[in-house]
Symmetry: C2
Subunit: 313 residues, 2 copies
């Protein structure tokens, strides 16, 4: 452990991300005290029970009382309310950050609610399909990228401290303009989620193919999409509402490309299909080479010890 | 091991599927002799080197000389040629099967080339994104479904023996009409692959976002799609050409559903998005309950031991 850039950290929102931030900070940063808070009393109770933080505060005021860093870990649509709730109690000099998936909207929400605070928005590109206080774990950020989107004229020292904080949690830090972040993540995260949610819905609603058949034969590819489409509905509703323009832009390009492949299938143009399918192989090799995914086939799924199905249907 | 339904098995095509059939039969069926053949001399040489089969035949004639089962494990567009190559040498009474992903087209191809053979088409719903003779493994079919699509009037004994063969390899067997199979797999396998290939292509070709950014921030969801889009281009070109109508039908439904979600985003209809995203969670729970996917978050990717990236970029 090295000297921590902050010593009194308040984590607002104790789901997958907030829980992981709290656990990682406690595991990896010497001398840091983590206080957690969640607007949901049941989540606070559970967080206390499983020891997510050193203290679970009962109110926003208690949560931030002596914090030198406040990290908002709530859905991007809840940032404004969460920030407003702590606004009257925020200590002078306290740095504010977050983990939201859209950055232009979050910067505006936090800035409006906390006009005097030093705000350094952050987005750790990490997660699982699970949510809630039991979903977090201390190694979620290990080897993942965390994108900081400090506004023009941001305090350089505060930016450096927030960067050091995320590096302390195991992440690699990159700086980016908020608008560009929103475009990049629209294609690497938001559009994939939208498409996964769509196809899982499509498959569930068919008349010609039963849901039981979809489930049984999902190993042909479909099951991969169901993981992403099991992500938190509130979080993702907010992402699409708050990064609307970038998502719609990327969706337009995707639709054009899909129409082109549809035409190749309809016309029986095997050469066009083969050419496209060959190009897309290279990207996966690069992702694995960059340490951003598991190199083992089929995500390393264990083909030797398959779970017994719960029904013999 | 139990008594094998066939004792002399010829596997034609030694890629991921053929290699896995050969390895599984040798590992799990007492007294079975497996002969392998591939039209590609380099694949035959590699298969001999790594011992995929008891014998690697040098010609189609040698491959099927004394077989009581021939399993065609070539791309569906190559079925006709592979069957024609063995047609003059096929022993009387030999049963013919395959592993193709589209069944109506394969039944026709095999039936045309082998008009006197007993044909029981099969489709094991199993695979990885890897291909070639080194990709196969003996447990690929364990716990997976294998769909048999025997034509009307098929010999019941031959169907039962082919079913027993696949059960012997570890699969669970289901019977289905070929046309219905093609519709079911269009939604559980072919459409997911088409969409994955599309979005990976979209992300690679953007002007506003670099390929390096797409790779770096792929953990936000995109990387899941790259696995499927790394699948064998020849195999998938053939699937789309040979199951064209069913794929285009399902693609039409998907496009309608995507347009609906696009409209909800454009209009800011959070309730519609939330409702859709909530429904899609249930399907994943069922898939896990049925033993068709890994229950661990993020496919069980190891967050504690992330690979070191090859460049510090």
């Amino acid at each position: 452990m090295s000297a921590a850039p902050f010593t009194r950290i308040a984590v607002i929102g104790l789901g997958l991300l907030g829980g992981s931030v709290a656990l990682a900070a406690r595991a990896r940063m010497a001398g840091v005290i983590v206080t957690g808070y969640d607007a949901d009393a049941a989540v606070r109770a559970r967080a206390a029970q499983i020891g997510l933080a050193d203290t679970i505060a009962a109110t926003p005021a208690q949560a931030v009382a002596d914090a030198d860093l406040v990290v908002f870990c709530v859905p991007v649509g809840a940032m404004a309310a969460a920030a407003a709730a702590v606004a009257p109690y925020l200590p002078a000099g306290c740095v504010v950050s977050d983990v939201g998936s859209s950055k232009a909207s979050v910067l505006k929400a936090l800035g409006d609610a906390l006009p005097h605070a030093t705000i350094v928005p952050a987005h750790p590109v990490a997660g699982t399909e699970q949510s809630g206080p039991d979903a977090g774990f201390a190694t979620l950020f290990a080897g993942r990228w965390c994108i900081l989107t400090p506004p023009d004229g941001a305090d350089a020292t505060a930016v450096a401290r927030v960067a050091a904080f995320w590096e302390g949690l195991g992440a690699r830090v990159e700086m980016m303009d908020a608008a560009h972040h929103d475009l990049v993540l629209a294609v690497t995260s938001h559009l994939p989620h939208l498409i996964a949610y769509t196809i899982v819905g499509t498959a569930s609603d068919l008349e010609e193919v039963t849901q039981s058949e979809v489930i049984k034969y999902s190993a042909g590819g479909f099951r991969d999409f169901t993981r992403i489409a099991a992500s938190d509905p509130t979080m993702w509703r907010d992402v699409f509402l708050h990064n609307r323009d970038a998502v719609l832009t990327m969706l337009q390009v995707f639709t054009e490309d899909l129409t082109e492949l549809q035409k190749a299938i309809r016309k029986g143009d095997g050469a066009a299909l083969f050419d496209h399918f060959t190009r897309t192989r290279a990207i996966r090799r690069s992702i694995i080479a960059m340490g951003q995914d598991d190199a083992r086939p089929d995500f390393g799924r264990d083909h030797g010890a398959v779970a017994t199905p719960s029904t013999p249907d």
